[in-house]
């Protein structure tokens, strides 16, 4: 249809100036290149170059004058704190993402259940934790977890429960850090899953109901397969963001007590900026790459597959 519409003027033009047309096409691609040039230079200069530069930095000594090969890495491997950070980053990211996904999934169902008229209002309220800048809301949590004035402990005291050392005890501190991350991230899952729920055709549920499927069967055979893509891609996105998270741990515990809540990002900041050892910090942050790369490959596969379907 389109071809028919534009081929008519082309035929007229083509007989007269085939060379002019080709020149115009050449100009089009060079115009396009210039339009994309700022983007290309930004990505090359400020993302790709630093990414490779950090590989180079990781092979230098602390004053960045001498090439030391892999000794930064062997130094890290022999340090207990490093393995602690590896373990904590994994616990932090996996636990937080699982709970964010679960809570997001459950809340999305409740919002989906209520009449469409009220959904907007509830959705609006439930997304607030995601909208507040994380640094600001983590401060509120820090105050809620305050060792001497914790408002949570005040409530617990009414029920005769001893004060909880929210950020003072290593295991409680890990719990608190994960809790805050879930609080910030769950609304994002809720929004994504709600959008996915709305895209499931109502007829599928009606058909399942006629076939006598109960609530679990409808969930297992209709809802989950239809949402599988969104569930996976949201979880992968969140895994990347959570694994590389900095703000929450930095503000809530700054890695303490005794390094028991450090993750890769906060520890590389501590070592690289505060400790002044940029090469060692860069080496630490490079250990995020494998997990990020795996998640990115899966996301990319999904995106390109869907792109070719459409």
């Amino acid at each position: 249809m389109v071809d028919a519409a534009i081929s008519a003027p082309h035929e007229v033009a083509a007989t007269r100036s085939r060379g002019g047309l080709r020149r115009a096409m050449q100009r089009k691609s060079s115009v396009a290149f210039f339009m994309a040039l700022p983007l290309i230079s930004l990505i090359v200069l400020l993302v790709i170059y630093p990414a490779f530069y950090s590989l180079h930095l990781a092979t230098l000594n602390k004053s960045m004058e001498r090439f030391v090969g892999l000794s930064n890495f062997t130094f890290l491997f022999n340090r207990q704190t490093f393995w602690l950070v590896v373990k904590q980053s994994c616990i932090f990211a996996i636990t937080a993402v699982v709970f964010k996904a679960l809570i997001g999934f459950i809340v999305a169902h409740f919002v989906h259940n209520i009449p469409a008229k009220g959904q907007r209002k509830w959705r609006g309220m439930l997304l607030v934790p995601w909208v507040i800048p994380p640094a600001m809301s983590t401060l509120a949590w820090l105050w809620l977890f305050d060792p001497s004035y914790s408002a949570f402990n005040w409530v617990l005291a009414i029920f005769g429960i001893d004060p909880v050392p929210w950020t003072g005890d290593a295991y409680w501190a890990r719990f608190s850090v994960i809790l805050v991350n879930i609080w910030i991230g769950a609304p994002f899952f809720m929004i994504m899953y709600l959008a996915a729920l709305k895209s499931v055709p109502e007829q599928l549920y009606e058909a399942a109901e006629i076939d006598g499927a109960n609530w679990w069967q409808r969930m297992w055979y209709v809802t989950l397969p239809m949402m599988r893509n969104i569930i996976a891609i949201t979880a992968l996105f969140s895994l990347i963001v959570t694994f590389a998270n900095f703000d929450i741990v930095r503000i809530l515990t700054a890695g303490g007590p005794i390094d028991m809540t450090h993750v890769f990002a906060t520890w590389s900041f501590r070592v690289g900026i505060e400790g002044g050892d940029i090469p060692l910090g860069a080496s630490v942050s490079l250990f995020m790459v494998p997990i990020l790369a795996v998640a990115a490959i899966f996301i990319l596969r999904d995106i390109t597959r869907r792109g070719s379907e459409v």
């Binding site: 389109v2 519409a5 691609s29 396009a32 290149f33 339009m35 994309a36 700022p38 983007l39 400020l46 993302v47 790709i48 530069y53 930095l57 809570i103 459950i106 809340v107 169902h109 409740f110 919002v111 259940n113 209520i114 009449p115 997304l127 607030v128 934790p129 507040i132 800048p133 994380p134 640094a135 600001m136 809301s137 509120a140 105050w143 809620l144 305050d146 004035y149 408002a151 609080w183 929004i191 994504m192 959008a195 006598g212 609530w215 679990w216 969104i230 996105f237 703000d247 930095r250 503000i251 890769f264 590389s268 690289g272 940029i278 910090g281 942050s285 995020m288 990020l292 990319l300 995106i303």
Partner: protein, 306 residues
């Protein structure tokens, strides 16, 4: 959880004769339970901001008193008055505002033409570049801040231009966070515009720039607004880059400013910290309150468009 058990029972009866009465009663219970749990979750999600507000209305004396922390006995706006007349806090706010608005402008100037070129005007490597833009969006800032820090230090040695500890260094850094995502969602929005539209314009003799400004930008305006909101909220909330790159108190932006200056040693002035944090959270919240649908469109576009 009534809605789990009862549909099974009613489906067993469905073989005999349909009982509409019980079905609607199930629905009613499902609805009630949904509301109960929604109220619980909303309580959990809104608790910290509400507690921020409660604390911000208290005096230091009341905060350190052993009274009910969840109630304000002597409400006062003293914290707000003090912060809004403090030069330091206003400097943070001004820095944040200038940085965010400028970054939004830079982002749009870079990503809109690039998205147009990538979605409509194919050139050598354009498909690879589109994928590359998306991959760039997945690289976290925590991986790049150390090499960038060193790069700027070297840049200073070479040219004598001091970038570290100047607020404008953020104008260089923030676009790395905003441009890839904005370009990505704009490619999605532009790709959804029917080809007939720009072909008609080209036949009528419009140039590529005219096609972009007269057709693509107006038609993709919702996407443009979503991208703008995204760029603004990301620049407003960014914490790692200003913490690593700026230290003097007159160069700080809001998130870092509140944390480094209002916390003095072990003395926490919680009334002022909560007030500062609440005021700092206000601009994104206000934008969200008025443009919620665009905000959510931008949020879901990242994973669903493409």
């Amino acid at each position: 959880m009534a809605n789990i058990a009862i549909p099974a029972a009613s489906s067993a009866q469905a073989a005999g004769k349909p009982r509409y009465g019980s079905m609607s009663r199930d629905r009613l219970w499902a609805l009630r339970w949904s509301y109960v749990f929604l109220v619980l979750f909303a309580f959990f999600f809104l608790l910290p901001p509400i507690y921020m507000l409660i604390t911000s209305l208290k005096t230091s004396a009341e905060i350190s008193a052993a009274t009910n922390p969840w109630w304000v006995f002597h409400p006062t706006l003293e914290n707000y008055r003090e912060l809004l007349t403090s030069n330091q806090y206003l400097t943070f706010f001004r820095n944040s505002a200038i940085v965010s608005v400028t970054v939004v402008t830079i982002t749009m100037l870079i990503s809109v033409p690039a998205a147009f070129a990538l979605s409509r005007m194919k050139f050598w490597g354009s498909a690879t570049l589109a994928t590359g833009v998306f991959l760039t969006y997945l690289i976290p800032e925590t991986l790049l801040f150390l090499p960038l820090f060193k790069m700027f230090a070297v840049f200073n040695e070479w040219t004598g231009i001091q970038l570290i500890n100047r607020w404008w260094v953020l104008l260089v850094l923030y676009p790395t966070l905003t441009v890839p995502f904005c370009t990505w969602i704009m490619i999605g929005y532009f790709a959804s515009i029917p080809k007939e539209l720009d072909e008609a314009a080209l036949i009528d003799g419009a140039t590529w720039t005219q096609t972009l400004t007269k057709i693509f930008i107006p038609v993709a305006l919702p996407g443009l607004i979503a991208a703008t909101i995204f760029a603004f909220t990301v620049s407003w909330a960014q914490f790692l880059y200003p913490l690593a790159f700026t230290t003097s108190s007159d160069q700080l932006v809001l998130p870092v400013g509140i944390i480094t200056t209002l916390i003095k040693g072990d003395v926490f002035n919680w009334g002022q910290i909560m007030t500062g944090a609440l005021l700092g959270a206000a601009p994104p919240l206000i934008i969200y309150a008025f443009l919620m649908d665009y905000y959510i469109a931008g949020l879901t576009a990242g994973a669903t468009k493409g």
